[in-house]
């Protein structure tokens, strides 16, 4: 228990660092030196020191947005087995709970954006409301597959200890589909290229970034924190999938985990550097691809399980 | 042996033929009157033992069917003052042809009834049937209101002709009641005829189609 909580705190603390890795990679491909790896800590510090300016149109919901989205991310992380160690909380069906909790976070992010009466933020909100629907469908498809294999509905049943390896044993090749499909979901949910470009400067083309235009100071810091943690959550998910082994020796185990995670973040960076952002009406297609991958995986494994 | 009433009835059948051919109202009325008389006295022939009450009764029926009803229609015709009824749906030749067909089929149909065992008459059923159907046919084929009334009377005559042998003697009161109804009906129709003549210029019932659906 204690271990799990420590891991949880560690994860929270490490998530900004990992997020910085992506910037580094992109800078490398851009032939630049790029910001230091601790850049996000600096920004957070700076933001915490600042005060914020509130629009006259806004209400308390505007302040609740960052708060709730961060809490949702933290909560999700509580259920996640980090490095294959048992999570803080876990019960049968917690996956559904997590998904809906993230939904709650999204609800408030959107509400906060709509609160500012800004046309751009409304536009972003509309997109934020639309794309995750398809992601969720994909997620549930993957869940169905895992349930077929593991017969349970909790992250710990999938990712603690040797369970993940067991999944691979049962499903085999189709798990690759799952990995890809989930990676796409990762990109979409965390508003990365090719779905969304956090670095662009044209508000019309943003999704997540445009929704937080009016946030500043500590509020904005909370939002940033939230997105880092969310990304970490998904990344860990992928990490467990591609590296199901758990070594007996905790030190080795954690190093392995850290390294693999680093690789995943690098891959994200790589994708961001080599790909351009899709047109908004192409995005659903991409997400549907992830869904159909998961679906195929499910159908094929049905044969294996029988 | 040929029943005495059959002679009379053969004339009735002939009269039906006439009624289909003519367009003159007076002729129609005479025909209907004749049929009424025939219908009235038919039982007279069938009854072998005729009581005095029976005779009186038959006489009264005869007077109503043969005199009062035709006379009332005749009065109307006089009042309105039209001689011919030319508004028809089915032409006269076609009518005549239909009538022959009708009489033949009535003759054939009457064998199903085989009433002759307790009437003795061969023609009575066929005559009755042809009167009824002829009445219905005229109701559909002629648009002139008076002719339609006459056709109705013709039909009634037919029915009573059919009823005569069956209800021989019994329930004379009832028969009388029926007759009174017919009479009243004809009277009312007569009144209607006059008002139609007043409301519309002539008696063509084709005008009476305001009320539909």
């Amino acid at each position: 228990m204690i271990e799990s909580i420590i891991l949880w705190i560690l994860a929270i603390l490490l998530s900004p660092f990992y997020a910085a890795v992506i910037l580094k990679v992109k800078a490398f491909f851009g032939g630049r030196k790029g910001p230091p790896l601790l850049i996000h800590y600096y920004t957070l510090m700076k933001l915490f020191k600042k005060a914020s300016v509130y629009s006259t149109s806004t209400t308390f919901i505007f302040k609740m947005g960052p708060l709730v989205s961060l809490c949702a991310a933290l909560m999700a992380l509580l259920f996640l087995p980090i490095a294959g160690r048992p999570p803080v909380l876990s019960f049968n069906g917690d996956v559904i709970f997590i998904l809906y909790l993230l939904g709650l976070g999204r609800f408030f992010t959107i509400a906060a954006a709509m609160d500012t009466a800004s046309p751009f933020e409304g536009m972003g909100a509309a997109r934020e409301a639309f794309f995750p629907i398809i992601c969720e469908v994909g997620m549930f498809m993957i869940l169905l597959l895992f349930f077929q294999l593991a017969g349970a509905l909790s992250l710990s049943a999938y990712f603690t200890g040797g369970h993940t390896a067991a999944l691979w044993h049962m499903a085999g090749a189709p798990m690759l589909f799952v990995v890809i499909s989930f990676f796409i979901i990762l990109l979409a949910e965390n508003s990365r290229v090719p779905v969304d470009d956090p670095a662009t400067h044209l508000e019309l083309t943003m999704i997540h970034e445009v929704m937080v235009l009016d946030h500043g100071g500590p509020d904005f810091a909370l939002i940033e924190m939230g997105s880092f943690i969310k990304l970490f959550f998904y990344a860990t998910f992928v990490e467990r999938l591609i590296c199901p082994v758990v070594s007996a020796n905790p030190a080795v185990n954690f190093c392995l985990f850290a390294v693999i995670l680093l690789i995943i973040y690098k891959v994200i960076g790589l994708v961001e550097s080599v790909m351009a952002r899709y047109r908004m009406d192409i995005v659903p297609r991409l997400l549907l691809i992830s869904f159909s991958l998961a679906f195929f995986a499910f159908v094929i494994t049905l044969e294996f399980v029988k | 042996m040929i029943h005495s009433v059959d002679i009379l009835l053969s004339f009735v059948l002939l009269s039906v033929l006439f009624s289909f051919g003519t367009s003159r109202l007076v002729v129609m009325i005479r025909i209907v009157a004749f049929q009424g008389v025939a219908a009235a006295i038919a039982p007279f022939f069938l009854e072998h033992s005729m009581s005095f009450g029976g005779i009186v009764f038959t006489m009264s029926i005869l007077s109503i069917r043969g005199i009062i009803i035709p006379w009332s229609i005749y009065a109307v015709v006089k009042k309105i003052g039209i001689k011919r009824a030319l508004e028809i749906n089915v032409g006269y030749n076609a009518s005549l042809f239909f009538c022959l067909l009708l009489i033949v089929s009535a003759q054939m149909l009457s064998h199903k009834f085989n009433l002759s065992d307790f009437t003795g008459s061969k023609l009575i059923v066929s005559a009755a049937i042809s009167l009824i159907v002829a009445g219905l046919f005229l109701l559909m084929a002629r648009r002139n209101a008076i002719v339609m009334v006459l056709a109705y009377i013709m039909m009634e005559n037919g029915i009573s002709l059919l009823g005569a042998p069956l209800s021989a003697g019994a329930h004379t009161i009832v028969e009388f009641g029926i007759l009174l109804d017919v009479l009243a009906g004809v009277m009312i129709m007569g009144i209607m005829l006059q008002s139609i003549q007043n409301k519309y210029v002539n008696l063509d019932t084709a005008q009476l189609r305001k009320l539909k659906e």
Binding site: Y54, T56, D94, S118, L144, P218 | N89, L208
Partner: protein, 652 residues
Amino acid sequence: MDFIFLSILLMVAGTALCLVIHRQFTLMKTTGVLAISAGCLIGLFNSLIQLFHPGTEAFAAAYLHGFSLSFAIDGLSAFFLVIIYFVSFLAALYSFHYLSTPEKALRTGLSYLFFSLLIASMVLVVVAANMITFMLFWEIMSLSSFFLVVYDYEKPENRKAGYLYFVFSHIGAMMLFAAFGLIYGFSGSFGFDGAASLPDWVKIVVFVLAFAGFGSKAGVFPFHVWLPHAHPAAPSHISAVMSGVMIKIGIYGILRVYAVLNDHHPLFGEILVIAGMISGILGVVYALGQQDIKRMLAYSSIENIGIILIGMGIGMMGVSAGNPVMAVLGFAGGLFHVLNHAVFKSLLFMGAGLVIKKTGVHDMDAMGGLMKKMRITGITFLAGSLAISGLPPLNGFVGEFFIYMGGFKGAGMDKLPLILSLMAIISLAVIGGLALACFTRVLGVVFQGEPRSERAAKADEKGPMMLIPMAALAVSCGIIGVFPEVFSLMTIRGVSALNLGYGDIPFSPFLQMTGNISRSAAVFLLLVICVLAVRYFLYQGKSIPRAATWGCGFTRPTVKMQYTGSSYARSIIDFFRPVAYLCENHPPVQGVFPAGTQYSSHVIDIAERYMEVGIVRPVLFFFDKLRWIQQGDIHPYIGYILLAIVLLLFFV
């Protein structure tokens, strides 16, 4: 039972008194509200006792020689009774300040009378124990609710709504007559109990007919056409009751028929799941397409009915597949969602009613910024929106959670159950996402941003009697969401009355699940408080200036520039184009200096469209042709007589 009758007597008598004293408006309203709420409280109290001390209580009275009016309360009835009484009570309170037109005094009094008749008939339908009784009060329910729908009959659209509702409910009733007639035809008794002995094919026909009949009341997809018209037409407290409770009576009917047929044919569950998925997804998609706020809520009712049907369908599939856990989870989830939907949908309708009353417009795109003027309304509406989107830690989540668990149990099986539960789960996910989009849209357009019209800018929230019920409902959303134990116990009582043959259902697994949910909810709230504290600390002693929204460099933003609800939903509607065609009206911009132009759009409901094209027109055409037989000329008429005789003589 006596208490039930007492409550009904109280309500009807009290509201009948309203007609007498309608000259004194306020006194009349007070009488009506007091009578109804007192009756509801008595009934609520009694039915709660019934619910938690199981055991059926029955009452029967001879009726018209040879029939009997018989009533009985079992767990299922009691469960619905609780909902009926609870919501009606709050709706009655709400109506006190909502009905505020003294010049319509008599009409208001009548509306109270019919309102109480509606409640009474719903109660009696739920406790009816034979077919005569059931149909008797079912028809009274339809009739009284019809009068409530045409309450505001001056508006043509309301008349149309009333007409549609009337026709649909009558056709539904006819279906039920047919279903019950079949039962009677084979069993020879007017009681429900004879139904169990029917041959199988008859049972299937009966179930299908009953499903159509009850579905037309519940607003299941192809039969829902009346619903989006009728709910906006009725006064808001009535829409709250109709949408929160009355359409659930249809659900009750389906469950009751399923129980009395006592047959576990797999077809039943499959029908329900498929119908549920269709109603659920289409309902929410159409809801996204609406501009009228109450119409939107009406469509979302269709969506929730879909969710309920999915739950019940999963339950029935579980029964027929011999999987008790799945069965109980499905039914319990469905019933739980019945409860939830009753709570938050009536809350939302009350909120919408208040908003419309204060702003005077139905169109959401003419509202905006109401959160500042109508704070309590806004907060309660927010709670309702969260709940209806099925987000933890509010009540909407719990019911869907049970249904999910049941569905996943089904996914553990093979063949048709597997496929159907898979589809059910996927569609539940889709519905959840769309509902979130739908209600963020409402919240954002109606309550947030800047007012889009004069009336909206000047809105206020006077009338505490309207706010209290809403607050109460919002609080109960939270309570049910965080402490679901006792409520799931209620649903279990309801399920055990379905005589699935499981004896009394063990409650411990539910206790475990609900325990997990409330524990995690508690942890979440704890986290929120911590972060709140952190945030408070961070803002310590900082000056918080306020300024205009950052217009991305645009210096003169106007309220017209805000993102409208239509544009918010546009991309999603486009995604569902085949089933939800977006019909736009937008004259093109011309010339170098274009004149002003306008844009309007509405989504076409395919069921409505095809009912028009596929049913109404052909029928009318047929009868138009048939009208030829009577053209006013007497000669053919006499011909008909002859024809009839001749034809009949052939059969002699």
